[in-house]
């Protein structure tokens, strides 16, 4: 791999070297390297582009890395990745896509991920998106479907910190008895970028719960749209928090929707959009920071 490729890989998956656990590395629409472990099997799909990741029950403290990098201009990559996570497993999954577009044609990655999480299994899923390079558009449209079986848990951390021209994220989840889904999203857009996020969580099980937290910063002329829908069909708890900093001439739309179909459903939505408070800037300037340094520190902290 050359330096650009290595840097991309590091940025989206924190990989300095070949990971210890199972992995599948995809570059410019093709799988380039793959490794299974005793408990984790990665199988290429026969009918379409993508892989099945099969994790045996009771697999504890193992990881799967499936980064995607695109280093050519004019690529349109679509990939279907299905995860089958066995009962009682405890797994870290790191995905993400980095596009280094070297020219003016647009490059695009559409990752469609489906998670079937077994009973009492725990999953931490980390997904980072990044765009760098020349004027060609960097487009990322991730679709994530999550099915949480009884007593299971998923923490999903998604980060898009710059350079992505357009993204359309859709996340659908169904949460069974005593299962819990936690989603933490961070987005930074600038220039003419656009980021759309759509969460649709169905709390079907008794004592099911979800927490969705979105923090975003919109700069320049960028546009962000955040739509979240949580439906409670049982004794359940759902909490959605969308917090955004708006700057320059950007635009942010936040649309909450909570639907209770059961008298024991407890659903909360909080949303706030505002510019950086003047007193925050003044406080940091009074510590010796310039206005720009103060602004950067506030944004960095907010998206940390």
């Amino acid at each position: 791999m050359n330096k650009i490729e290595k840097d991309l890989l590091l940025a989206v998956s924190d990989l300095h070297q070949i990971p210890a656990g199972a992995y599948n590395i995809r570059q410019n629409g093709k799988g380039i390297d793959k490794k299974n472990t005793a408990n984790i099997e990665i199988v290429s799909k026969k009918d379409k582009s993508g892989i099945d990741i099969i994790i045996k029950p009771n697999t504890i403290n193992e990881s799967v890395h499936i980064p995607v990098i695109i280093t050519e201009s004019g690529i349109k990559d679509v990939v279907y990745n299905d995860f089958y996570i066995g009962d009682n497993s405890d797994i870290l999954i790191v995905a993400g896509c980095g596009i280094h577009n070297p020219d003016k044609n647009s490059s695009e990655h559409n990752g469609i991920h489906t998670f079937h999480i077994g009973k009492n299994a725990k999953v931490k899923y980390v997904e980072k998106h990044l765009g760098v390079g020349q004027s060609g558009e960097k487009i990322l449209n991730p679709i994530t479907e999550v099915y949480l079986d009884n007593g299971s848990y998923m923490l999903m951390e998604t980060t898009q910190l710059g350079g992505v021209s357009y993204s359309q994220r859709k996340t659908i989840a169904e949460v069974s008895d005593n299962a819990k889904l936690v989603i933490k999203e961070k987005i930074l857009t600038s220039e003419n970028q656009q980021a759309n996020t759509n969460f649709d969580v169905l709390l079907t099980g008794q004592n099911s719960s979800c927490e969705v937290t979105s923090r975003s910063v919109a700069k320049g002329q960028s546009i962000q749209e955040f739509i979240s829908k949580v439906t409670g069909n049982n004794l359940c708890f759902g909490h959605v928090e969308c917090d955004a900093i708006i700057m320059d001439n950007s635009k942010i739309i936040s649309t909450p929707e909570i639907v209770a179909n059961c008298v024991d459903a407890n659903l909360v939505h909080e949303a706030a959009i505002g510019k950086i408070a003047g007193e925050q800037i003044i406080k940091l300037m009074s510590l010796g920071l310039t206005e720009k340094e103060a602004e950067d520190m506030i944004i960095q902290g907010f998206l940390k």
Binding site: E279, I282, K283, L284, L287, G288, Q300, G301
Partner: protein, 242 residues
Amino acid sequence: MLKLDNVCYSVNENGKQKDILKNINLEIGDNETVVITGHNGSGKSTLMKIIMGIIPVSSGKIYFDGVNITNMTITNRAKLGISYAFQTPVRFKGLTVKDLLTSANNSNLKVMDVCNYLSKVGLCARDYIDRELDDSLSGGELKRIEIATTLARNAKLNMFDEPEAGIDLWSFEGLISAFNENKQKNGGANLIISHQEKILNIADKIVVMDNSKISMYGKKDEILPNLNSKRYCSRLQGDYYE
């Protein structure tokens, strides 16, 4: 160290000029603790904001160590050695106590140093160092962190706007020794807005503000007896008695 030369500040309210500060002349020397007191709305906090550069003067000049800083930015005044603890501390989502103290000190503070500043304000460092400066902190906790941040700057002039507000009785001893330490260690000066007798007692000089002006200014021993008079106390609390 600090000299205010005929500083005035006025605002336009419904087409009429309203004076907030009138002809303020004040000099604070090295190694001095000066306490400003006076009833609500007399202009005390505005005066501090003017010294920090948060509010511009309408007329008059401000000198710091002989340098005319009247038109200087907040950042440059801070770099010259002015530090200011706000009356109402600011909250930041995502930034931690350590982040703020490290920025204040303008260096890579070691965990030990951060702990040291926190313990000066009576906070158990281990519990606070990684806490976020958000709504999870109480007003009193935030106030102590604000004071620790101000101390961490190691500035020549430390300004505190009602440092005792919201702080329990840890406390006064700790707070007062922190003020004295700054004076002794850095040869610095403290400018403190307070109504607290214990803080007035550590003053070298006291400034009494009344109706946008300095009504009394002098050594503590000269001013305190006047402040203790019944007439002045009732004026200080005029908001309640009127």
